[in-house]
Amino acid sequence: MISSALSASRRSARDRRFRRLLAIPAALAGIAVLGIAAFVIAEASPALRSIGLWAPLADAQWQPASGAFGMAPMLAATLVIALGALLLAAPLGVGAAAFARMWAPRPLARVLRGAQILLAGLPSVVFGAWGLVVVVPAVAAWQPPGASVLAATLVLALMILPTIALAADAAIAGVPGDLVQGAAALGLRRGAVLRHVVLPMARRGIGAGLVLALGRAVGETMAVLMVAGNVVQWPTSVFAPVRTLTANIALEMGYASEAHRSVLFVGGLLLLAMVAALTLVGHRRGRGIHA
């Protein structure tokens, strides 16, 4: 462990000052998260007090004008689309990273990595516009209306692919080279090395990438709003138009009255809770073998 090896230097005054200085940005991140959580809870509390926590989950419909605040279908839609996108993007992302690191010649690998970085930098509204003009009509040709769980899942998978690929790439690169060489020396072919040595060692990094990607998928608003259909209903079919919690907030926040706004913040609270839970799960399971 680094800190134990350098504990002697901790006694130096300069290092103590430096440590205090570095603690500030570290603390800021935590404070920011807590601050945002506190704000969302505060904004959501009027609604929670007047309609309770059950109503958003139990009400049959979403008709804020008539007092029906059923968010369950939207919560389901968010989860289905996000998990679907992850299921699609994870093997592709990890596969792309494995290919780049273990099979591709160096220049090709650099190009591939560059492409992933570019893809990661594209604004979500660009994905949304592309999805609306290309993916939705393509799905519509198969089964109308086109704007659906499937369209949203496809677009979102493309959006989180670079996150997974780049994290997997870093994780695979971090596997100690002598282990890989040792396995090869024992006669294992590359595929077996990947499966039995590299991936188990890279599990932690890949897991972190998956959690990040899932968090982004759950929180994506613009692109999903443009291609998912925005009809509040249960995602009973991949071709069904649905509305996610994020798209709901984006569509209605601008004009919502006080009470309605507060309910939208309850939706925000649900999203926060979901991301927190996912991060916790990812953290627990991501603890792979690490020498």
Binding site: A140, P144, P145, G146, Y255
Partner: protein, 268 residues
């Protein structure tokens, strides 16, 4: 190196400070009016250095809410004020109509009010029931709070809660692109926005109503039954640059911009 970074830093600060001297006018609201107002704002800024106008969408109701809250100096709305909004001041800047649009390949000649009502209530499933091709109907509806939605429901006497949409869209452009991308789709949008898109890209058909074609000329001559005023609203009497902006938007100087976007100029 240090000298270079010092000069660079001062240059950056200078650029940043330069913008402090300007007035910033925020205008939010209807996505129908926004493209027109953005053009008007651009022309307004041309003769007036130091004035910046920010135009944002979000729906007519958001425009009204924002001017009340004070987050915007002016609001754009594509409907008349409701009784609950009578505390606001309004000025019409153009005329627009609402029409039904279908995919370019859908050759249904027109739809009557009863047929529109039935389609939006989910009672008509296929286009061949109303004289169109054998395609399933895909109903495109607008999200709550949009003036276009409220006008549509009121004119066709449809109860909002009974509408069975297949896709819900946020603004005109999304509605147009959705209909243009789905052969069986039908939606309702501003004639201005739809004409503009059809002229530039095609792939869209504007349905006539009551024998009147869905054109800007029909709106201008008053023959189109589903017309509405595009208005600018404020919470109190505007002063200074905001007042100039409102007067500019109502003047003859912007009539060419209005026509370019396929709206009809408002003549008092």
């Amino acid at each position: 190196m240090t000298l270079r970074s010092l000069i660079g830093g001062i240059a950056l600060l200078a650029v940043g400070c330069g913008s402090h001297a300007s007035t910033r006018i925020t205008v939010t609201g209807s996505s129908t009016v926004a493209p027109l107002f953005a053009e008007i704002a651009k022309r307004f800024e041309e003769g007036r250095p130091g004035v910046r106008v920010d135009v944002q969408t979000g729906g007519s109701t958001r425009g009204a809410a924002d001017v009340r809250r004070g987050t915007a100096s002016l609001g754009m709305m594509s409907r008349g004020l409701l009784a609950s909004e009578s505390d606001l001041l309004s000025w019409p800047i153009a005329l627009d109509g609402l029409c039904l649009i279908v995919h370019g390949d859908n050759d249904v000649p027109s739809l009557s009010a009863d047929q529109v009502r039935a389609i939006y209530r989910g009672e008509i499933e296929s286009w061949d029931e109303v004289g169109g091709p054998d395609l399933p109907v895909v109903v495109v509806h607008k999200a709550e709070g949009r003036a276009t939605l409220e006008l549509f429901l009121r004119f066709f006497e449809i109860d909002g809660a009974l509408v069975v949409p297949d896709v819900v869209v946020g603004d005109n452009e999304q509605g147009i692109k959705t209909v243009a991308g789905s052969p069986g789709a039908v939606g309702y949008v501003s004639i201005g926005a739809a004409s503009h898109y059809a002229e530039q890209r095609g792939g869209l058909r504007l349905l006539p109503f009551g024998g009147v074609p869905a054109t800007t000329r029909a709106v201008e001559s008053g023959r189109w039954p589903l017309s509405r005023e595009l208005i600018v609203v404020a919470a109190r009497d505007p002063e200074g640059p905001v007042r100039s902006l409102v007067e500019f938007a109502r003047s003859e100087e912007v009539h060419d911009l209005v026509r370019a976007l396929s709206f009809a100029p408002f003549r008092p």
